[in-house]
C-alpha cells in the first residue's frame, strides 16, 4: 500500500498505520519560508521544486496556508488560488498540505462559520491535507473546518498546540486528544499532529508524550511538527520516530536556517543509523536541494536580523513562524535593540496569562510586550525596563502575590497591562474561547480593565464557544461591496479572498489590473528590475517566449522618469512617476472615493464647461435635488451631464470652470440631507425671501 492523493483519507491513514517506515512532510515552500525568509520566496522559484518533490517519496509538501497566504496578497502579489492550483498540477503524485488557524483560517480575525465553510470548500480541490490548530486547544473552534474537510474527502489533520510548562502535561494533551478524536470520528481517518511551533520539545519530552498518546490510542497516526529554534530538532525528531510517530516535518537542507525546520538529509541519515527505514528517494531530494542552492541567494535580504539558535525559546516560546515578522517590525520601528528585553518580557508574560504562542496568540503576546517594553524604554530608558523585568521575575518567584510587594511596586505591577490592546482584552473575556488552563489571576484583570474589572468579568466574560455567538456574514452584501471597490463583478475566488483580507485583496486586484501576473518573472527581476542597459529578461506566457530588454532610463524630469524598453522587438516608452512626486500629484488631483456617499466623480476625461445647469450656476452651500444637472463635462464635442446622486447641500466644489479633469476625479462633495432637513432648509429659504 502506498500513499497517494487519489486515495481516501481512510486508505491513506491505514497505509501509514500499517507501514513500518517513517514518512516526511516537507515544509520548505510554506513554513520554512515563513520562519526564515519572511515568506518572500517567489512562486517562480518554488514551483521549480514541484517535479522533484513529486518523485521524492514525501508524505506531503506543505505549500499553502499560514502567513504565506496573507503575504502572497500583500507583498508577493501571488494569488493564493493560482499558487495552490499550480502546485496541484505540477505535483500530482504527492499530497499538498495547508496550515489553517481554526476560526482565523488564513487570516487574523475570527470569521463567522459560513465564511469558514465557504473558504475551506473553495480550496478543497487543491489541498489534500488540512492541518488545523487552535491557539487555545479549544477543540469546538475546529468543528466547521473538520466537517468541511472530511465531507470533501480530504485528510483532516488536527493539531495539538504543544508547549512545555507545568500545565502542559501528558494528561492535559490526552484530554485534548480525546476531544479532537470525538469531532474527527475516531482514529481511523485522521492524523494527529503534535505542533511544536516554537521548537521546545526535548527528545525525552516528545518521546514521553508520543508514548502517552499511543498507550491510550494505539491506532492513532501521529505526526510531529517541530521548529529548530532551540537547536535540538534533529534528536527530538529521531526520538519521536523511535517512540512511534509516523510522519516528521523536515525541510530541504539548503533551506535550513534557525527558526525553521530540521534538514531532511540529516534526519534521514540518523533514522537509518537507528534502523528506521524511510521512504525517501534521495536523488530526488538532492535535485530539489540543488535547485534551492541555485536561487536561495536572492533572499539574503529577507533573512532574519538575529541569526543562530536560541535555547532561550524554551522560556519566551516565540514560535518560529513569528520570529521574522517580529524582527521586521522591530527593524522598521527602530527598536531592534530592544528585542532581547521583549523576549524576556514574554518569558514572564506567559506565566501571567497562559495560552499557546501561535497565531493569533503570538500576535497578542508580541504586540503586548513590544508595547510594554517600548513604553518603559521611552519613559525611563533601559534602567526602567530592567527594573520592570526584575520586578516581574520577583513577582513570579513570590507566587504572584501582590501583598508581598511595596506600594510603589504594587502600583507598577498593576500598571503592567494598563495599555492593553483590544485583542488582549477580548482574549481575557473569552472571545477566542476559554483559556486552556483557566482564567488568569484577578490582578491581571485589574491591570487590564482598571477599576471596573469585577463588573467586566461578571458581565462580559463567557465560557461557551465564541463561534456560536458569531452570526453569519451576509455574503451577498460583501460581494456588492467588493464589486463597488473593484468596479466589476468579482470572481468567487476573489470573494473568498476578500472575506478574509478585505484591504489586501482590493490592493492586490488593483496591482494585477495594472501589472498583470508578475509571477512569470525571474526572481532577480521581480526584486530589482533590469539594471544594465541592454540587459534583458526572458520569460514565457502560455508557452510563448517573451523578451524585454532595457534600452534606456531617462533623467527624472518633473518627477517622471522615462524608461524605454524593447518589448518583443517593439520599442515602448513608459513614463514612471517617482515616489517623491507621487504624493504631490495625489495632492493635486483628488479622486472621488466610490465608497463614500456624496463624493461626485467625473464620469469621463474632459473639460468642465459648466458648473450647474443652463438656468443656475451652482456654488458652495447651494442645495441640489437628486438627478439635477450639477456639472457638464465636454470631451470630443460630446457633452456629459453630471447629475446629483442625491438630495443635498454642496459642501465643496473641487474643480474650477474650464478645468481639465480626468476620469474619476472628485468634482463635488455633497452632504446628503435627511428628509426632515430638506423640508426645514426649504422652509428657511422661503422665510428669508419673505423677509
Amino acid at each position: 500500500m502506498t500513499i497517494h492523493p487519489s486515495k481516501s483519507p481512510r486508505e491513506n491513514v491505514a497505509a501509514l498505520r500499517n507501514d513500518r517506515r517513517v514518512y516526511f512532510t516537507n515544509t520548505g515552500p510554506r513554513d520554512t519560508g515563513q520562519s526564515d525568509y519572511k515568506n518572500r520566496h517567489t512562486l517562480y522559484d518554488l514551483i521549480r521544486l514541484a517535479p522533484f518533490y513529486n518523485r521524492s517519496g514525501y508524505f506531503s509538501i506543505e505549500n499553502h496556508g499560514g502567513a504565506r497566504f496573507h503575504q502572497n496578497l500583500l507583498q508577493n502579489m501571488i494569488d493564493p488560488f493560482e499558487e495552490a492550483i499550480l502546485w496541484k498540477e505540477r505535483m500530482p503524485d504527492v499530497m499538498t498540505q495547508t496550515l489553517v488557524r481554526s476560526t482565523n483560517l488564513w487570516g487574523y480575525r475570527m470569521y463567522p462559520r459560513n465564511v469558514i465553510r465557504l473558504s475551506v470548500k473553495a480550496f478543497l480541490p487543491y489541498v489534500d491535507v488540512w492541518r488545523c490548530f487552535d491557539f487555545l486547544n479549544y477543540v469546538p473552534n475546529m468543528i466547521p473546518i473538520a466537517e468541511e474537510v472530511m465531507k470533501g474527502g480530504k485528510l483532516f489533520q488536527p493539531a495539538i498546540s504543544f508547549s512545555v510548562s507545568e500545565d502542559c502535561t501528558d494528561a492535559y494533551y490526552r484530554k485534548v486528544t480525546d476531544e479532537i478524536l470525538r469531532i474527527s470520528g475516531g482514529t481511523e481517518s485522521v492524523i494527529l499532529c503534535i505542533k511544536d511551533m516554537a521548537g521546545v520539545g526535548s527528545p525525552g519530552r516528545i518521546a514521553q508524550l508520543t508514548d502517552a498518546l499511543l498507550q491510550k490510542y494505539p491506532d492513532l497516526v501521529i505526526q510531529y511538527h517541530r521548529h529548530a529554534t532551540d537547536g535540538l530538532a534533529v534528536p527530538a525528531l529521531a526520538a519521536a520516530a523511535r517512540a512511534g510517530v509516523k510522519i516528521l516535518d523536515v525541510t530541504d537542507d539548503p533551506f535550513t536556517r534557525y527558526y525553521g525546520h530540521a534538514p531532511v538529509r540529516a534526519v534521514q541519515a540518523l533514522l537509518q543509523e537507528m534502523g528506521i527505514d524511510t521512504r525517501l528517494d534521495l536523488p530526488g531530494v538532492d535535485k530539489a536541494a540543488e535547485a534551492i542552492t541555485g536561487f536561495i541567494g536572492h533572499y539574503q535580504e529577507f533573512e532574519s536580523q538575529f541569526r543562530g539558535f536560541s535555547y532561550k525559546v524554551t522560556e519566551h516560546r516565540m514560535p518560529g513562524g513569528a520570529f521574522p515578522s517580529s524582527f521586521e517590525q522591530a527593524a522598521k520601528g527602530g527598536f531592534l535593540p530592544l528585542m532581547p528585553y521583549i523576549l524576556r518580557g514574554m518569558s514572564n508574560g506567559n506565566r501571567f496569562i497562559e495560552y499557546f504562542d501561535v497565531t493569533p496568540g503570538s500576535q497578542i503576546t508580541w504586540t503586548t510586550w513590544a508595547g510594554i517594553i517600548q513604553y518603559h524604554y521611552k519613559e525611563g530608558g533601559l534602567k526602567q525596563v530592567e527594573d520592570l523585568l526584575d520586578l516581574c521575575e520577583r513577582f513570579i518567584a513570590r507566587g504572584q502575590s501582590l501583598d508581598a510587594f511595596r506600594p510603589e511596586e504594587k502600583e507598577a505591577l498593576l500598571g503592567l497591562y494598563a495599555r492593553a490592546t483590544d485583542d488582549l482584552k477580548n482574549l481575557l473575556l473569552g472571545k477566542y474561547g476559554p483559556l486552556p488552563f483557566g482564567w488568569p489571576a484577578d490582578w491581571v484583570y485589574q491591570s487590564v480593565f482598571g477599576d471596573g474589572w469585577r463588573e467586566k468579568i461578571a458581565k462580559d466574560r463567557f465560557e461557551e464557544s465564541p463561534l456560536a455567538k458569531k452570526s453569519d456574514e451576509e455574503i451577498g452584501r460583501v460581494r456588492e461591496e467588493l464589486q463597488k471597490k473593484i468596479e466589476r463583478n468579482p470572481t468567487e475566488e476573489e470573494l473568498v479572498l476578500y472575506l478574509q483580507h478585505p484591504g489586501a485583496v482590493v490592493d492586490f486586484i488593483r496591482f494585477r489590473t495594472r501589472f498583470g501576473n508578475t509571477t512569470v518573472l525571474p526572481t532577480g527581476i521581480w526584486f530589482d528590475g533590469l539594471k544594465a542597459f541592454g540587459s534583458e529578461v526572458n520569460f514565457e506566457t502560455r508557452g510563448k517566449p517573451n523578451t524585454i530588454k532595457l534600452i534606456s532610463i531617462g533623467q527624472e524630469v518633473d518627477g517622471v522618469k522615462h524608461i524605454v524598453l524593447s518589448v518583443n522587438s517593439t520599442m515602448h516608452v513608459f513614463p514612471v512617476e517617482m515616489p517623491s512626486h507621487k504624493t504631490v500629484q495625489k495632492a493635486g488631483t483628488r479622486f472621488a472615493d466610490p465608497t463614500v456617499s456624496g463624493q461626485v466623480a467625473s464620469p469621463i476625461m474632459g473639460n468642465v464647461w459648466r458648473i450647474g445647469d443652463k438656468d443656475r450656476i451652482l456654488k458652495t452651500g447651494d442645495i441640489v435635488k437628486e438627478g439635477e444637472e450639477i456639472m457638464n463635462i465636454e470631451a470630443m464635442k460630446v457633452e456629459t451631464a453630471v447629475l446629483a446622486p442625491g438630495h443635498g447641500v454642496i459642501r465643496e466644489i473641487a474643480v474650477k470652470l474650464n478645468e481639465a479633469v480626468v476620469e474619476k476625479q472628485l468634482l463635488m462633495v455633497l452632504e446628503e440631507l435627511p428628509p426632515e432637513e430638506q423640508k426645514r432648509t426649504r422652509r428657511s429659504k422661503t422665510n428669508k425671501k419673505t423677509r
Binding site: F515, G516, D528, L530, L550, F574, V576, P603, I604, M636
Partner: protein, 484 residues
C-alpha cells in the same frame, strides 16, 4: 443632357482627415491623381499627412479653425494647384456654402450641387422633395414650437414620437418622447442642444416607428440623369443613432422588396437632380412598410460594405461622375452574391458611457488575412487627438453568406490589438456573438435593449504590456517597493 468631354483631374484636394482621407488617397493613386490634404496643428504627424503627396497647414486644432474654415480650405486647394475637392464625410461635406465656394473658385466639388446639398440639409425640405417624388415618408410635423403641438400630434399618430433637429445629421440631435408629460422638457432640451450643436434651434417631430430597422440604399448618378442603385445596407446596430455595425445586404429584405425599394430610390435621385454618389435612408417597420427619412449627399462611413459585395470603388465612381464621365453600368449588371459586414472601431470606452478615449497608440496590430479589409487612419505611435470624431478604424469582412462574414469578422476583431486607448472592440465582439444579431432578429433598439449584456466583458490590457509596465516601474525605482 448631352454628354460632354470629361474634365481631367491631375491633383485633388482632400478636405478631410483620418481613415476617409487615407482611403481617398488610395483611390487617387490608382487613378494617377496626386493628392493634397489639409491638416490642423495636432494633425501635423497624422497618417493622412504622411500618406498624401502634399499637405497644407490649415490652422489650429479645433475643427472650426481648420478643417471647417471654408476660406482656408478653398485657398489651400487653389494655392496647391488642385482642380478638384473631395469633402469626405463630416466637416464641410454637407455644407452647401462650401460646395458653392469651391465652384466659385473654379474647383470641381466631388459631390452633388450646392443646391441639392442645401435642400438635403433641410430635413423638412428633404421630406417634401421625397414626398413629391412619390416616396412614402414618416408622418410628421414640421417646425414645432410648442409642446401642445407635440401632444396633439402624439395623440393622432400614437406615441412614441421623436424630435429631430432641422439642421441635424449623423444621428445627432434626436430625442424620443414616450408620452405627453415628457413633451415639454424634451422639447426644451432638444432646442437647446440643437442650438449648441448646429447653431440653429429649429426642430420637427415624427412618429417613432417601433421595432424599425434602418436600411439605406446607395445610389450613383452621372451628370446626364442616369442613376443606378448599388443595393441596400443594414445599419440598425446603432447606439444613440450612431451606427456601430453595418452590413450589406440587409437580412430583412427579399428580392421583391429590394427591387421595389431600389426603383423608388432611383426615381427619387433622378427627381432631386442628384450627381455622384448618395444614400437614401429608410426606416423599415416590422410589417415591411418602409418610410424614407433622409438623403445623405456625400460618401458614407459604411460605403465599404457595398464596395465589398458589388466590386465597385464608390469614391472612384464619384470622381468620375463629378468630372462628367457618363455612367456605363446598367442596373442589371449590379449583381450581389456575397455578404459583407463592417465594424466601426471608435476610440471610446463603451463601459464608461462611450466616453471618448484619446492618447497615444503605443502598440498596434492591424487586421490582415483573407476576406478582410481594414480602413484606418492610425499607426503605432500616433496620437489620437480629442478634437474630432472618435472613429479610428473600420474593419470589413466579406463572405459568401452572412454566417461566413460573421465568422471572419470575429477573427478579425480578435486579431486587432491596440494599446494606449480604449476602443469599441470588446463591445463589437459581444455583438458578433449575440444570438439575436447572429440570427438577424434585431432592430434599431438592439444596443439599448441589450446594453447590460453587451457591456458584460472584462477589458484587459495585454498581459505583456502590463508586465512591461511593471518592469519599467521597478527599473526606474531601482527596486521593488511592493515586496519590501
Amino acid at each position: 443632357m448631352p454628354e460632354s468631354q470629361p474634365k481631367t483631374i491631375r491633383k485633388l484636394f482632400i478636405a478631410n482627415r483620418g481613415e476617409i482621407a487615407c482611403r481617398t488617397i488610395r483611390t487617387c493613386w490608382e487613378l494617377g491623381i496626386r493628392t493634397v490634404v489639409g491638416y490642423s496643428d495636432c494633425d501635423a504627424l497624422s497618417y493622412h499627412v504622411k500618406l498624401s503627396d502634399e499637405a497644407v497647414h490649415l490652422g489650429p486644432s479645433p475643427a472650426a479653425l481648420s478643417y471647417m474654415d471654408i476660406a482656408k480650405v478653398v485657398d489651400a486647394a487653389r494655392r496647391t494647384g488642385c482642380e478638384a475637392v473631395f469633402p469626405g464625410y463630416g466637416f464641410l461635406s454637407e455644407n452647401a456654402e462650401f460646395a458653392r465656394a469651391c465652384r466659385d473658385a473654379g474647383l470641381i466639388f466631388i459631390g452633388p450641387s450646392s443646391e441639392v446639398i442645401a435642400r438635403m440639409g433641410d430635413k423638412i425640405a428633404t421630406k417634401q422633395t421625397l414626398a413629391d417624388a412619390g416616396v412614402q415618408i414618416i408622418p410628421g410635423l414640421p417646425r414645432v414650437t410648442s409642446a401642445d403641438q407635440m401632444v396633439k400630434f402624439g395623440k393622432e399618430v400614437g406615441w412614441p414620437i421623436i424630435i429631430k433637429a432641422v439642421a441635424g445629421g449623423g444621428g445627432r440631435g434626436m430625442h424620443r418622447v414616450d408620452s405627453a408629460d415628457q413633451a415639454k422638457a424634451a422639447l426644451e432640451r432638444a432646442v437647446s442642444i440643437s442650438q449648441k450643436l448646429f447653431g440653429r434651434g429649429e426642430v420637427y417631430v415624427e412618429k417613432y416607428i417601433r421595432g424599425a430597422r434602418h436600411i439605406e440604399f446607395q445610389f450613383i448618378a452621372d451628370a446626364y440623369g442616369r442613376v443606378i442603385h448599388l443595393g441596400d445596407r443594414e445599419c440598425s446596430i446603432q447606439r444613440r443613432h450612431q451606427k456601430l455595425v453595418e452590413e450589406a445586404p440587409s437580412s430583412l429584405l427579399d428580392d421583391r422588396l429590394r427591387n421595389e425599394m431600389g426603383h423608388v430610390v432611383v426615381k427619387a435621385a433622378k427627381e432631386i437632380g442628384y450627381v455622384t454618389a448618395g444614400t437614401l435612408e429608410f426606416l423599415v417597420a416590422p410589417d415591411r412598410r418602409y418610410y424614407a427619412i433622409e438623403v445623405n449627399p456625400r460618401i458614407q462611413v459604411e460605403h465599404t460594405v457595398t464596395e465589398m459585395i458589388v466590386g465597385l470603388d464608390i469614391i472612384r465612381m464619384m470622381i468620375r461622375m463629378a468630372v462628367g464621365t457618363p455612367l456605363r453600368f446598367r442596373q442589371e449588371e449590379i449583381r450581389i452574391t456575397s455578404h459583407a459586414i463592417q465594424c466601426r472601431v471608435n476610440a471610446e470606452d463603451p463601459k464608461n458611457d462611450f466616453a471618448p478615449s484619446y492618447g497615444t497608440v503605443t502598440y498596434l496590430r492591424q487586421v490582415s488575412g483573407p476576406f478582410v479589409r481594414a480602413d484606418s487612419g492610425i499607426f503605432q505611435g500616433c496620437e489620437i487627438p480629442p478634437f474630432y470624431d472618435s472613429l479610428i478604424s473600420k474593419i470589413c469582412s466579406v463572405g459568401k453568406d452572412r454566417p461566413t462574414a460573421i465568422e471572419r469578422m470575429r477573427r478579425a476583431l480578435s486579431e486587432f490589438n491596440i494599446w494606449g486607448v480604449k476602443t469599441t472592440i470588446p463591445l463589437l465582439k459581444k455583438i458578433m456573438d449575440h444570438p439575436d444579431f447572429v440570427s438577424g432578429r434585431f432592430d434599431t433598439d438592439f444596443i439599448d435593449e441589450h446594453l447590460a449584456e453587451l457591456l458584460d466583458y472584462v477589458e484587459d490590457e495585454d498581459e505583456i504590456l502590463k508586465i512591461s509596465r511593471f518592469i519599467a516601474e521597478i527599473t526606474a525605482l531601482g527596486k521593488n517597493p511592493y515586496c519590501r
